[in-house]
């Protein structure tokens, strides 16, 4: 646990060269493995900045969450990599967001996690602290090129100043709207959205009334990701270190806001909103045509547009743009116990810094993190991708600072909020009681996770 990986490079030969490793390292590898759940087994795979070059056949497992569009794009990049390095092939696992981490955790518990793991900032601190993912610093400047990546974005992949995760893309919060429904009603909001939440509420209620059955917005009260920009608009943060950055009063206000929206008819009722509370994009209520709008990330327009025949647009979330921030949409990380960490790092680098990869990925995961790639491929983008880039640049220009990596145990806080918000929305709990229980449970969960 103590020695960060890579500090004792002399001890090990180039990892990834399995032929080399097999005999010489076999014994020490076994010895390390026998140490069991404890210490720094990770270092076996993460010796200093060695290249990925290996002629032995390597099969890497790659895991991510997402929809069919992402699966297609990712596969294209992996194929490109295999074309350049025929000895490296890939096995892929992808699924929706809900249950994704359970599956990774279960595999990790069996010491059998995928080599290349997509994560978001919700899991970063947990995975880094538990040494599930390898520290990437030893490769920086060698296999891993980070000079084209905005330092602020790169910083979101660091825990305690050590790089554990490479941003695959950046995105920002947005409100996706169904223009096909709104245009005939003459209710398309202005490009800049709404200056405040009251204006948003009025608009949402008007849409529901005019459309006759399609709600103006999905009820987003259960999602911590959408509460965060709202908190930031009020000058609060999600976390203050390893504690909540807000209190009961804010939760009450947040629940009340959505309660009023549900009562005015502007927001969808609980049973319509509930399926998407787990975060699965396939349950999005705009693509199921149950609501005109839903909170989303700008990059998700690709996936959403693929799932509907309607025309979709993006406007900023209601209220001040300061609530928004440029956020790492996903990271790629290397499983610390993987046998080919060096090759994995090279694949990660390929995703971020190869032009062909950038073209294949588009903005489905978010904007390319490398400035050079972004500039090189932007002209080739389709109209839809250009639209996303323009939205992102417009909003990020006025956005607030990117917050630090969320506290450890963040996913539990998300679950607790969902449960509290659902209890309120279904009328099973009073707002004040639900808020009180949420805050007390959240604080004790954070304390436990941090200890």
């Amino acid at each position: 646990m103590t020695t960060p990986s890579g500090r004792t490079p002399s001890r090990l030969v180039a990892p990834g060269r399995r032929s080399f490793l097999a005999g010489a390292l076999g014994a020490s590898f076994l010895g390390l493995a026998a140490c069991g759940g404890g210490d720094d087994t990770a270092s076996a795979g993460t010796a200093a900045g060695a290249g990925p070059e290996t002629s032995k056949p390597v099969v890497l497992t790659v895991a991510w969450w997402g929809g069919p569009a992402r699966a297609e794009n990712t596969q294209k990049v992996l194929d490109l990599y295999t074309k350049a390095h025929p000895n490296v092939t890939f096995k892929t696992q992808w699924q929706g967001y809900s249950g994704y981490y359970d599956k990774i955790n279960t595999a990790a518990a069996g010491r059998n996690a995928p080599d290349l793991i997509q994560i978001d900032n919700r899991a970063l601190r947990e995975y880094a602290n538990k040494k599930l993912i390898a520290e990437l610093d030893p490769w920086v400047g060698k296999t891993l090129k980070t000079d084209q990546i905005d330092p602020k974005l790169l910083g979101t992949g660091k825990v305690d100043d050590k790089l554990y995760a490479m941003p695959l893309a950046s995105n920002t919060q947005a409100f996706a709207i169904d223009a096909t429904v709104l245009q005939p009603l003459d209710l398309v909001p202005p490009e800049a959205g709404w200056a405040d939440w009251d204006g948003f509420a009025t608009w949402a209620a008007a849409v529901t009334k005019a459309s006759g059955g399609v709600w103006g917005t999905r009820d987003e009260s259960a999602n911590l990701s959408w509460m965060e920009p709202w908190l930031r608009q009020g000058g609060k943060q999600l976390y203050d270190g390893q504690a909540l950055g807000f209190g009961e009063a804010e939760v009450v206000k947040w629940f009340t806001l959505w309660d009023a929206l549900r009562k005015s008819g502007g927001a969808s009722p609980a049973e319509v909103s509930q399926p998407a509370n787990s975060g699965d994009i396939s349950k999005n209520t705009v693509t199921t045509k149950q609501t005109v709008g839903s909170f989303t990330y700008d990059n998700q327009l690709t996936e959403l547009a693929k799932a509907t025949d309607h025309q979709l647009q993006l406007v900023p979330l209601p209220g001040s743009l300061k609530g928004n921030y440029a956020r790492p949409s996903q990271f790629f990380t290397a499983y610390a116990r993987g046998k080919n960490v060096a090759t994995v790092v090279d694949v990660i680098n390929f995703f971020d810094n190869d032009q062909g990869a950038g073209e294949a990925l588009g903005t489905e995961r978010g904007l390319p993190p490398s400035k050079a790639i972004r500039d090189a491929i932007s002209p080739t983008f389709s109209e839809q991708l250009k639209y996303v880039v323009a939205y992102d640049e417009r909003v990020v220009a006025g956005a607030g600072d990117t917050p630090p990596v969320p506290a450890q145990g963040d996913s539990q806080i998300g679950t607790l909020l969902t449960s509290a918000a659902e209890n309120v929305a279904f009328g099973r709990a009073q707002i004040a009681d639900a808020a009180e229980e949420f805050v007390s449970q959240a604080n004790s969960a954070l304390k436990r996770a941090g200890s």
């Binding site: 404890g38 955790n105 538990k130 609980a270 319509v272």
Partner: protein, 322 residues
Amino acid sequence: MADTVSRAPRVGTRRAARPPAPGGSPRRRREAVAGYTFLLPWFVGLFGITLFPMLYSLYLSFTDYDLLQSPQWVGLENYVRMLTDDPQYWNSVKATLLFAVVSVPLKLAVALGVALLLYRDRKGVGLYRALFYVPSLLGGSVAVAIVWQTLFGGQGAINDILSLVGITGRSWITNPSTALGTLVLLAAWQFGAPMVIFLAGLKQIPAEMFEAGSLDGAGRFQQFWHITLPMLSPVLFFNLVLETIAGFQGFTAAFVISGGTGGPADSTLLYTLYLYLRGFGDFQMGYASAMAWGFLLVLGIITAIVFRSGSLWVHYADEGEH
């Protein structure tokens, strides 16, 4: 048990060389050796796959274990937290109790009802028995749970049917007041196994009893109440015990239908699902182990109560004339 046979007894011969205790002739000893050799696969299974992991989980239940780092001893902390500081835990207990208390009797009633319809030999009755059994074969599968999710969804077939008779449906699985009900229905629909056992039990009841009953002027209901039920009670008891234990362990359907969350509003958060989410979702395997042992204890008590109650209502035909 059948699958234990397929577990390769690799240690076989070496272990078996140790002579077993009972003395006697060399031939008897040889037989004993052979006996233990044949038992070996089962012992390996019992100790390696059942007993050791169980005891290890007992140890883990007193630790803080995050799956990736070594367990840290915390004494009774997990148990204390479970009982005093985890409202979600009690939500899961409530949901599980409700699920078991409704689904077990319902399932048994349906199974008995269908068995009564199918136990007389009529033309094609074998086919019907097979057909009614099919849902149980599919029962634990993910596919059926997904079908259920679709059927009872807001835009599902159930609502289409209801709208034909003028009832406006709702999204059954995303509403906390009906979500658990759909799970109960799914469980009750899988009545095949107890049905087959009931069928066997019904066939055991001597026909003369019914003849004698009808000669004495007993109607159909009286025959059922005074002959069928008492004669069937040992079978009913057997089914009740098995189904109670199975009912408390429901997982797959709740997991699939709620999208792995136990939602909406924790209404389908069955005990085992919550245990799984804590253990594998939140890296709290120590806590999950404590939950598992709490579960074992309570389930043991419930089963014991059911067994005790048996003496009050189970009638064994060979108890002689009273």
